[in-house]
């Protein structure tokens, strides 16, 4: 196992750690918006770390380009998706956990 | 060039014509194109049948790749015989539909109707001609998709639910066939039908092959509407446009019967299916129930199309009964009935379509007094109806005759009795309609509208009726072909051609 391999394993490990913490956040956070926060931030960092880890395994060929393409694509689309989702949720009447349901009917159906 | 590629043309011609039709865009040129293509296909298939009868089986390697690596088209007497019926009916129905669909399908959809018809024809020819089990599935789906479309084109909203039910059942059936073919492939490693037949022999009593057989039989039974898996058929045929019903009733289920014959006799081999698996008892049981139950239901219907649809299920019972007798005469009667039933049901549904064209209804009450007002149409209906009943000098008599002969050869007296009983029920359901047509006075409201159907509908209808009588008197062509086909199929089950 050479030096590059070690770094790449560390990056992969860190990536999985963040992915895992995001998944935990999906369950543990109090309301939808914090959960989006958890999921989307860790999505990005996990993608960056893991793909960086994989990049070190390539020898600068087509695969490198593809990996970078995937990374760029994920970094563009994933936060956008989270943004759009949060916006729809707000529009659809979900409330922050600090807010109280009003008479017009917020539907904070938290468990 | 044409000579050599004749075997592929019945598939390729409509296959190419369908996208061309979309490019043409206008209804009239599309109709001409479709009719021409269908006509060419029927001439080619006659030629093919002739070649097959004189020189033997035609094998055609698509893409120049020999079977089992490539896809083989394989024409023997059985599929050439059915192909003639399918392409000829398709041509006649296209002639018929020019006027018929004006009343039943929105004007904007006529172009799509002809395109879907061409696709359906291509699919059916593909099923018939191909010698590859998976290719058969692909063409089955082409024809099915086109069929769902065709059924749903009618203006009556009930055609939608009928088409959906048909889609769900049809897809389940196709998936079952896919599972069955997969199991066979898993055990043998090949998809070519002949190759499969040779290699299945090596694994005769394997559970996997048994299961594959069961799934294929159930899947095909759904497609051919064998009782009790027929529930999709009556609503689909009742609510579809008449031209579509005429086409489907006389081709689609018949092709499915052919698929069953092909799988049982060519691929699995009669001795395996019937002697080791005992399929004949099951098939015979359901066929007899189908004949009685569905003939009875047919007699209860208020709608004539519905009556004829149930009658179709009953007639499929006769075909399956013929297959389940496991002798050459029985199989021959089954094949003969595929051809003959196409002739009679085509004529009957065309006649109903003509009535619908004039009256906008296919209820039995609409038929009152039609004997005088639409004499030619009703005469056609009567003759074709007699053929369904099985009166001598019609084709219906011929196939039933051979069926009874086959039953007696096996000394199954009760089957002979069942065939006669089924005919009696047919007398009832056809008789009801004829009684309304000839012995009842029309409703006042309808009198004004009634006149004879246009020539474009009468001509194809009468061609079929004349064929009904002609082949009922001069049986040499049909019986010879069917006999030859049946003998060949039985041989396939015993003597294997081994490919190098």
């Amino acid at each position: 196992m050479n030096f590059l391999d070690i770094i790449s394993s560390l990056l992969l490990f860190a990536g999985t750690f963040f992915a895992f913490s995001g998944a935990v956040g999906l369950f543990r956070f109090p309301d939808f918006f914090t959960r989006v926060h958890a999921a989307s931030l860790t999505d990005s960092i996990a993608a960056i770390l893991m793909i960086a880890g994989l990049l070190l395994q390539t020898s600068f060929d087509l695969n490198t380009a593809k990996l970078i393409f995937i990374l760029v694509f994920l970094l563009i689309t994933s936060p956008t998706a989270s943004h759009a989702l949060a916006k729809s949720a707000r529009h659809g009447g979900l409330l922050l956990f600090t807010e109280k349901p009003t008479k017009q009917g917020g539907t904070n159906q938290d468990d | 060039m044409l000579e050599q590629n004749l075997a592929a043309l019945p598939i390729i011609l409509p296959l190419i014509a369908a996208p061309l039709a979309i490019i043409l865009g206008r209804t009239m040129p599309i109709w001409i194109l479709a009719t021409l293509v269908s006509g060419c296909a029927s001439i080619i298939s006659l030629q093919l049948l002739d070649t097959v009868l004189t020189t033997g089986v035609i094998s055609y390697a698509v893409g120049g790749w020999q079977a089992p690596w490539g896809i083989e088209l394989r024409i023997d007497t059985a599929n050439a015989f059915v192909l003639v019926a399918v392409t000829a009916i398709s041509t006649l129905v296209l002639l018929f539909s020019k006027d018929s669909i004006v009343k039943e399908i929105d004007c904007s959809k006529h172009a799509l109707f002809y395109t879907a018809h061409l696709l359906c024809l291509a699919g059916l020819s593909g099923i018939l001609i191909t010698g590859d089990a998976f290719n058969l599935f692909v063409f089955l789906e082409i024809s099915s998709l086109a069929t769902y479309t065709l059924v749903s084109l009618a203006r009556d909203k009930r055609c939608l639910t009928a088409a959906f039910r048909y889609l769900v059942m049809g897809t389940i059936g196709a998936t079952f066939i896919l599972i069955g073919v997969g199991l066979l492939y898993m055990k043998t490693g090949t998809l070519n039908m002949l190759d499969l037949a040779t290699r299945i022999d090596l694994y005769d009593s394997s559970r996997t092959i048994n299961t594959g057989l069961a799934f294929i039989i159930v899947g095909v039974s759904i497609k051919l509407a064998l009782f009790p898996l027929h529930m999709w058929l009556p609503p689909a045929y009742t609510h579809a446009p008449s031209a579509v019903t005429a086409f489907l009733a006389s081709t689609a289920t018949k092709v499915a019967v052919y698929v069953m014959v092909r799988f049982i006799f060519t691929i699995f081999g009669a001795s395996y299916v019937f002697h080791s698996m005992g399929m004949e008892t099951i098939l015979m049981l359901f066929a007899i129930i189908a004949i009685f139950k569905c003939s009875y239901t047919a007699a209860m219907q208020k709608n004539v199309k519905s009556t004829l649809a149930y009658s179709s299920v009953a007639q499929i019972g006769y075909m399956v009964l013929g297959i389940s007798l496991v002798n050459v005469t029985g199989l021959m009667s089954g094949l003969l009935h595929i051809f003959n039933h196409a002739l009679m049901k085509g004529a009957l549904f065309m006649a109903v379509g003509a009535v619908f064209y004039r009256l906008g209804s296919a209820d039995i009450s609409a038929f009152k007094g039609l004997g005088k007002r639409m004499p030619l149409t009703m005469a056609a209906f009567t003759l074709a109806g007699l053929s369904i009943i099985g009166v001598p000098l019609t084709v219906g008599f011929i196939s039933k005759w051979y069926l009874v002969t086959a039953a007696l050869e096996q000394s199954h007296w009760f089957i002979a009795a069942a065939v006669l009983g089924g005919s009696l029920l047919a007398v009832v359901y056809i008789g009801r309609i004829l009684e309304a047509a000839y012995f009842q006075e029309p409703d006042e409201a309808n009198v004004a509208k009634i006149s004879e159907a246009p020539l474009s509908m009468l001509i194809p209808m009468w061609i079929l009726v004349i064929a009904n009588i002609y082949f009922g008197i001069d049986t040499s062509f049909t019986t010879e072909a069917a006999q030859h086909a049946a003998e060949l199929l039985f041989q396939n089950g015993q003597v294997m051609e081994v490919k190098p």
Partner: protein, 118 residues
């Protein structure tokens, strides 16, 4: 034990098929029926792909000589079958939209009453 190792894949796939099949025949809602049909078919595809697998093999795209490849034929068949599946789904869903417009419902037991009156 050997039996399980040899067949576990097929057994789970059979279970999946039957789940899909169950949804098709038991669901009342037509959209759910179509979903079930898709699940059923996808599972059948998995059966085909399972049989094409060779232990220790790799995807049938040439890398160099002396490599063990999985069987490409089931892959080809299933590519075709997937396309067939999506075609059926599209037509089925269009029918559902039309049914909704004509009957106002897509629950099977609700329009069955209307249809019974032929």
């Amino acid at each position: 034990m050997n039996l399980i190792l040899d067949y576990y894949n097929y057994w789970i796939v059979v279970f999946l098929m039957m789940t899909g099949f169950y949804i098709v025949i038991s669901a009342n809602n037509l959209v759910k029926k179509v979903v079930g049909l898709n699940i059923f078919q996808t599972s059948v595809f998995m059966m085909y792909i399972s049989m094409g697998k060779v232990a220790g093999g790799t995807a049938p795209i040439v890398v160099d000589d002396n490599t063990l490849y999985s069987n490409p034929l089931p892959h080809v068949l299933i590519l075709t079958a997937i396309v067939v599946g999506v075609a059926t789904t599209a037509v089925g869903l269009s029918l559902i939209i039309r049914i909704k417009r004509a009957y106002g419902t897509v629950e099977e037991n609700e329009f069955e009453h209307e249809d019974d009156a032929i």
